[in-house]
Amino acid sequence: MLYLKLYLVFAKIGLFSIGGGYASLPLIEENIVNNYKWLNNSEFLDLLSISQMTPGPIAINAATFVGTKVAGVFGAIVATLGFITPSAIIISIFSYIYFKYKDLGIFKSILNSLRGSVIALIGISGYKMILQQLHLENNYNDNFNILNLTLMIITFIILRIVKKIDPLIVMLCIGILGMFLSGIFSV
């Protein structure tokens, strides 16, 4: 039963990817490429570049891509449902507990902790991305990216001045500005 297999494999990936996209990637590769051979290496790389150019969580992209390739549209639906199932069960339980007991002392205390940690983790991930975009993450002498630094400074100024601005509008404008400036910088 191919459908059942797709469902179960993606349910397994869903269950064990804790911590978002970067956690699910090695799991996807191991199961889809190595164990079940639903994609070969170059198809897996295609999947990665497609995922970077399309919206949404990478695991959903993978489930749709693999499902379609192996068993058509219905395969894509089954694989996607498989990935969501563990989330849906666990989040339902957590939501129930959260909305019922969120004002209970001990829960409040745990949530305050987790909230603090997630704020810090968000900051760290932004910091790492900034270094990466400036090409500073490696010790060897990679070219420092002046254009990206310029774009970052402009973004920061916009965010500090117009506090309520929609982040999507900022991304759109900076993306277009970047394309425009890269033309000038390269001449």
Binding site: I50, A88, G123
Partner: protein, 183 residues
């Protein structure tokens, strides 16, 4: 009745829109969810939004899906949760299905891919900025315990400790703090 239908529609259309325009994965979703559900719709306050993201981050699966599900649950129970997951999953599902069919023409997306490449510096600063603002607002509200945990997490991640363990340690500190304060 009309109002009731409206909120389901709002949940669906908001999650669909957010999912359709959120490129790049990771924490990009945080400032975008905040903008939509906290600032524009005012359905949820900042603290609750961060609680939900924290719970989603500590659960299996994709953070974007988990957080949308919790928002749906909060607003309209199980049906709300179902609708928000549908809204979140549909855009990538439809787009990847289409691409799987026209898969040979990837090179045509080069200009778009270049555009996305230049959104990355903006996304990096936006993500950093959202954390920066949250730290400032914790400071303003004098949430000393939250600030303490932020410090601890920063220190722990200097030692490259896996995020799972950081969240576990953090939850444990929360339990300890509760019993210390009660005495």
């Amino acid at each position: 009745m009309n109002n009731k239908q409206n909120i389901y529609w709002t949940i669906f259309i908001s999650t669909f829109y957010i999912s359709a325009v959120t490129f790049g994965g990771g924490y990009v979703i945080v400032p975008i969810l905040k903008k939509k559900f906290v600032e524009d719709l005012k359905y949820i306050d900042d603290e609750e939004m961060m609680n939900m993201i924290a719970i989603s981050q500590s659960s299996p699966g994709a953070v974007a899906i988990n957080t949308s599900m919790m928002i749906g649950f909060k607003l309209k129970g199980a049906l709300g949760g179902f609708i928000s997951v549908l809204g979140t999953v549909l855009p990538p599902f439809l787009i990847i299905s289409l691409i799987s069919i026209f898969y040979d023409n990837l090179s045509k997306m080069q200009l778009f891919s270049k555009f996305l490449q230049y959104t990355q510096p903006a996304i990096a600063v936006i993500i950093f900025n959202v954390a920066f603002n949250l730290i400032l607002s914790s400071k303003e509200k004098k949430e000393n315990y939250v600030l303490f945990i932020i410090m601890i997490t920063l220190i722990l991640s200097l030692f490259k400790i896996n995020m799972m363990y950081i969240l576990l340690i953090s939850a444990l500190l929360g339990i300890i703090n509760y019993f210390v304060k009660r005495r």
